[in-house]
Amino acid sequence: MWFWLLGYLVLMAKITAVLTAVMVLAAYLVLVERKLLGRFQVRYGPNRAGIYGILQPVADGIKLLLKEDLMPEGADRAIFLAAPAVVAITALMMFAVVPFGPRLTIGGREIPMVITDINVGLLYVFALSSLGVYGVALGGWASNSKYALLGGIRGAAQMISYELALGLSIVPVVMLAGSFSLVDIVNAQAGLPFILVQPLAFGVFLISAMAETKRIPFDLPEAETELGAGYHTEYSGMRFGLFFLGEYVHMQVMGALVAVFFLGGWRGPVLPPPVWLLVKIVLVVLFMIWVRATLPRLRYDQLMNLGWKVLIPLALVNILITGAFMAA
């Protein structure tokens, strides 16, 4: 009974720590992104709230909380209200399987530095990632608005084109690690991070991950220049905030997955393991921001071409090559 309670407390402590870190990081990623985009465009970015705009996330949060929660006439009430939560919750839940350190031994008991190490962790991540698209598609549909509907449809179509490449690009990693568990995948990179062994898979995964997070150049569901704001056109206040939060948490999740699958997860010299994971996540996210500052949005047909005619064949060929090397 006491052990059970202790285990429960440790689990809760881990969940609290991870959720807090993820939320705070998400808030500050928004600031980092706005600052960096500013500098990429030779301007300052937000610099009024606190020094260097350090309090901007707080100001944004207060603003979102105090805004009126609007609902368009003719919206499907229940789905409209639930959609943002779906996006945010699925994004947050994906962090449950990301390992942020080696096993810790305290008082003779081993504590795994991961919220839960399920043996199909990778499938769990992809399942949640696909579920997140439901939030987008349903939110767009329930808004009873043309732009939101178009954004939702685009979200669903984009998901179909990229989930496949995303999943296939990871197969060589699973083949090398011999496990679906993210902990085992990190352990398999003790000698060499997989980016050196699988550069092609890394490229395909990174591009698909950016499409999965619906960021420029794959932000067709949002596409503010074409669709107003796409699927969240009709959302305001904290419901919009949840979509926003979901997007930035999703960025972090994809950063964490790139780190876990290809960059060796929490492994690294000198610094403690969670810091290394954080550094790698931030590096991937910074790259995503750089991409956003550089590339224009793909057209719908270009996106489909890239997904079906380039990334999926590349991923399949990569699986074949890896298999041939492993068999040889």
């Binding site: 960096l36 500013g38 500098r39 990429f40 465009q41 030779v42 301007r43 300052y44 610099n47 750089w290 500052a293 550089t294 590339l295």
Partner: protein, 179 residues
């Protein structure tokens, strides 16, 4: 096929180089409240009523500015003093309506109404944006330092009689022209 692929990658890399280089460029932004860019004298913002070089009001209440104003934000009441000189009994500009087009300044025959570069004259209360004559009147000549309408206009005002004005001939005795 391979050439095309190399071209694509090269062009994308060039884009990344261009944006990446911007990180090391100082932003061009002028931080407004800390740095105020000196504006040209003819920038169009807050309107003033200027005085002539002798310190008298220039405005002769001719209603031309009020007539030309596209948003009808200028109103006044003309009056005449004991020496026959016209002036505005009251003069009012509703800056809540003013679009700072500068047509009043162009229409003004006496250079009285002028726009200044001072654009920071916003008020919380809309009624505070209604400026009366004492708010508009300044004690300098604005952009036209030595123009005095009554020195040129051939109007007898008690300050100057017939033939006393600048580039005005003395009055002709019409009887001497008779055959």
């Amino acid at each position: 096929m391979i050439r095309a692929g190399i071209d694509i990658i090269a062009s994308i890399a060039a884009g990344f180089y261009t944006t990446g280089r911007h990180l090391f460029v100082r932003p061009f932004t002028e931080s407004y409240p800390e740095y105020k860019r000196p504006l040209p004298a003819r920038s169009r913002a807050r309107i003033i009523l200027t005085r002539d070089p002798e310190g008298r009001e220039r405005c002769v209440a001719c209603y031309l500015c009020s007539g030309v104003c596209p948003v009808n934000c200028i109103s006044m009441q003309a009056a005449e003093d004991s020496r026959g000189r016209r002036y505005a009994a009251w003069f009012r500009i509703n800056f809540g309506r003013c679009i700072y087009c500068g047509l009043c300044e162009q229409a003004c025959p006496t250079s009285a109404i002028q726009l200044t570069p001072d654009f920071e004259h916003i008020r919380r209360d809309l009624l505070d944006m209604v400026f009366e004559k004492q708010d508009l009147l300044v004690d300098h000549c604005g952009k036209d330092p030595d123009y005095d309408f009554y020195q040129h206009a051939g109007v007898v005002t008690g300050l100057a009689g017939k033939g006393d004005h600048i580039s005005e001939n003395a009055p002709v005795n019409t009887r001497t022209n008779m055959p």
